[in-house]
């Protein structure tokens, strides 16, 4: 079979079918583009992106960069894009965590655990995500108290608007306080490398996790206690309508994150379950017979193989999740889709704005799948080195 394809590609005779299909597609796209420009010109519209510098004139529910209604359309697109990226990254981590946990539970011997996993997967896999989102949103908005009756968890407050968190006011004169954190991070990296070297040279295990946590937490904390530097804390306090000061995480952000985490978590759980079941039971039995502990069997025999099976379908999940962040528009999280829709309504430049939006989503998805493919290649080559 392989040989047949080769001979065709090598060009003993031209691939007329391929040329025909590609030619038709290109011609179709060409006709479409020419038609759009001709029709736009007939309607007195000149396509262009000059509007990106004009004043946007509308506000966002939240923004990672300073933004006011007086800023340009270009800036509001960046703010929307950053909101989309933040939502995607956090939801990805949640979905992966939930999915891997549920996937592991679904293959445990415990019938109760398996039942919980099955219920979860079947529930979230079979409901439209927009419905899940609206149900969670209404539950959150109705269930959480309004801002003037916010729940107090020490200095943190929770209402149906936001979670309000106290923050340290950044002060340029206090940046040196970060030095011990950087130092302990460097020390942690050095320790991990050293542990690996010892393992490679002698096969002896040295404690890694405990040392790293101790370095990252205790050193900066101890330093902070000893140094006794007066840090200015900005704590949320209730004003006329809402808490001001500190930082806030909006309820709509949390609800969309939860929806995406649970929805994609259910699908990732199935991917993980499939990956685990694909490792032949003979391998586990063999490893046990060699005298490896249960933990080591999972860590050195099962998981490396599961990861390699699971990554290609996971790329699919991650890319889907990135695109699905656009449901956030329904509940008032100012993501790329929401910003793009408002701009189209104000400027009447649907074609230009849709192209920009498509390009940005495409870019995000391609970056995500490229990174995952790299990870896949690394795992494969590592597997190959180990000779598995």
């Amino acid at each position: 079979m392989m040989q047949d394809f080769r001979s065709q590609i090598d060009g003993k005779r031209p691939d007329w079918l391929g040329i025909g299909v590609v030619g038709l597609v290109l011609a179709g796209v060409g006709v479409l583009i020419v038609n759009i420009f001709v029709n736009m010109q007939a309607a007195g519209m000149t396509p262009g992106y000059g509007f990106l510098a004009q004043t946007a004139g509308f506000d966002l529910s939240e923004s990672l960069i300073p933004y006011t209604a007086g800023d340009s359309y270009g800036r509001v697109i960046v703010a929307g894009l950053l909101n989309t990226i933040l939502l995607a990254v956090v939801s990805l981590m949640l979905a992966t965590f939930v999915g891997v946990m549920m996937g592991l539970v679904s293959v445990t011997p415990s019938p109760a655990g398996r039942m919980v996993a099955t219920l979860y997967v079947e529930l979230f896999r079979n409901l439209p995500k927009i419905l899940v989102l609206l149900v969670l949103y209404v539950l959150a908005v109705r269930g959480l108290p309004p801002s003037r009756e916010a729940l107090s968890l020490g200095p943190v407050y929770l209402s149906n608007r936001s979670i309000y968190i106290p923050t340290i006011v950044p002060d340029a004169g206090q940046v040196w306080l970060l030095a011990p954190l950087a130092a302990s991070a460097l020390a942690a990296v050095w320790w991990v490398r050293r542990a690996r070297r010892i393992k490679a040279a002698t096969g002896r295990e040295s404690p890694v996790a405990i040392i790293v946590i101790a370095l990252l937490l205790c050193v900066p904390l101890g330093f902070a206690l000893l140094a006794d530097v007066p840090l200015e804390i900005s704590a949320p306090s209730f004003e006329r309508f809402d808490y001001e000061g500190g930082a806030r995480l909006s309820v709509q952000f949390l609800v969309v994150m939860l929806t995406l985490g649970l929805y994609h978590g259910a699908q990732i759980a199935e991917v993980v379950r499939g990956g685990i079941l694909a490792v032949p039971s003979g391998q586990v039995e063999g490893a046990l017979a060699l005298g490896l502990s249960r933990g080591h069997v999972t860590r050195f025999v099962v998981l490396p193989q599961v990861l390699r099976i699971v990554i290609p379908p996971m790329i699919n999940q991650f890319v889907n999740l990135i695109k699905n962040t656009s449901i956030a528009i329904a509940v008032g999280y100012s993501d790329l889709m929401s910003v793009s829709g408002t701009i189209i309504n104000q400027t009447f430049r649907p074609l230009e704005m849709m192209l920009v939006t498509m390009g940005l989503y495409l870019g995000l998805s391609l970056i995500a799948s490229t990174l995952m493919n790299r990870l896949n290649d690394t795992l494969r080559s590592r597997g190959a080195r180990r000779g598995s």
Binding site: A69, L134, V141, N160
Partner: protein, 349 residues
């Protein structure tokens, strides 16, 4: 066909001018309405309070009644209004293309729209505008007290720009909750996630009815954008005048307490009425003179009030305090000029 018609009307006007009498043909649109015996009027297909089909498929509502006003004035019979529900952009095209005589469908009169030669804006029947609704428990009675509040508004709408402009101009801060889904938006407002709900005042009044206790919410007096909802006609001087002055008859009737219920009694006792009422409904009144010049039935003013009613009557019938809308006309810009509103009756003489 059109050339033939034009030729006929040209020749008749030529004869009329030559003979020196008032033209029997007022204008092409007016002639078309009379020739067909019905007036095609476009309304919005579903706008509660303004135009919704009843169980027989006939449009009822505030806007639909201005279609009936035109038919009563021109054809003497309000039921000869052929009221059709058409979407916004299609209705503009339909009128420009000559497939309909007029539109009464909450079209905001703006400069660029008025500059279009295929459309004539005639009379503003409703002054709408964007406003704010708050829970009465918030203890706010003016929008200027909203510094720092969270505002719910529809994602992607012009409302977002209007609130940004307004809060910016007043130097006040606010947080926006730009929610696309209507259920989520109303839940957010009714659960106190936002302090304020911003939209057109008419939409606020309609949405307030969806609360479990509508009485717990108030619409603040400030209106932050102008939306003069205006009747549009196919350009024709006589037709436009007929529409404009029919509307003025409704406003003048409103000033003098004349309604569809009492007009017969008033006409029977005309000698005792104010001069303005006499000029509107008398046998040899100003309206009779206008009828001859515009090509209307002599009793057109009487028919408008008898069959449709005064402006206040139409407002209260569809949007007033006894309707689910619960709009108190005196508190809107649609109040009579004498009560501080914008409804200013022009003199009929």
């Amino acid at each position: 066909m059109t050339i033939f018609k034009t030729l006929i009307s040209l020749s008749t006007s030529a004869i009329a001018i030559a003979v020196g009498i008032a033209p029997a043909t007022a204008g092409p649109v007016m002639d078309d309405i009379k020739a067909k015996g019905s007036l095609v009027c476009l309304v919005s297909p579903t706008a509660p309070g303004f135009s919704v089909p009843d169980s027989k498929g006939v449009f009822q509502g505030f806007n639909a009644d201005f279609c009936r006003m035109a038919a009563a004035a021109i054809l003497g019979d309000a039921s000869k209004a052929d009221i059709r529900g058409v979407g916004f952009s299609d209705s503009m095209k339909t009128i420009v293309a000559g497939e309909a005589h007029m539109g009464s469908r909450s079209i905001t009169r703006t400069g660029t729209r008025d500059a279009d030669e295929g459309l004539a804006f005639v009379a503003t029947t409703f002054f709408d505008g964007q406003g704010f609704m708050v829970p009465s428990a918030l203890g706010v009675s003016h929008a200027l007290e909203l510094d720092g509040a969270s505002v719910c508004a529809e994602d992607g709408s012009t409302t977002l720009l209007n609130i940004a402009d307004w809060f910016g101009a007043k130097g006040m801060s606010y947080r926006v909750e730009n929610i696309a889904d209507k259920t989520a938006r109303l839940e957010a407002f009714f659960s106190g996630k936002c302090d304020v709900y911003a939209s057109d005042v008419t939409a606020l009044s309609a949405d307030r009815q969806l609360a479990s206790a509508p009485g717990d919410y108030i619409i603040l007096p400030e209106i932050i954008s102008n939306e003069p909802l205006t009747l549009v006609a196919r350009p024709d001087q006589a037709f436009e005048a007929a529409l404009f002055w029919s509307f003025q008859v409704m406003l003048n009737a409103d000033s003098h307490g004349v309604t569809s219920a009492n007009i017969d009694a008033i006409v029977a006792d005309l000698g005792q009425q104010s001069p303005t009422v006499q000029r509107m409904f008398g046998a040899d009144a100003a309206t009779t003179d206008m009828a001859a010049k515009l090509g209307l039935p002599n009793d057109w003013a009487y028919q408008v009030i008898k069959q449709v009613g005064s402006y206040g009557e139409v407002f209260d019938r569809h949007l007033g305090t006894d309707t689910p809308f619960g709009l108190d006309r005196a508190k809107t810009p649609n109040a009579h000029a004498a009560d501080g509103g914008l409804m200013y009756p022009f003199p009929i003489r």
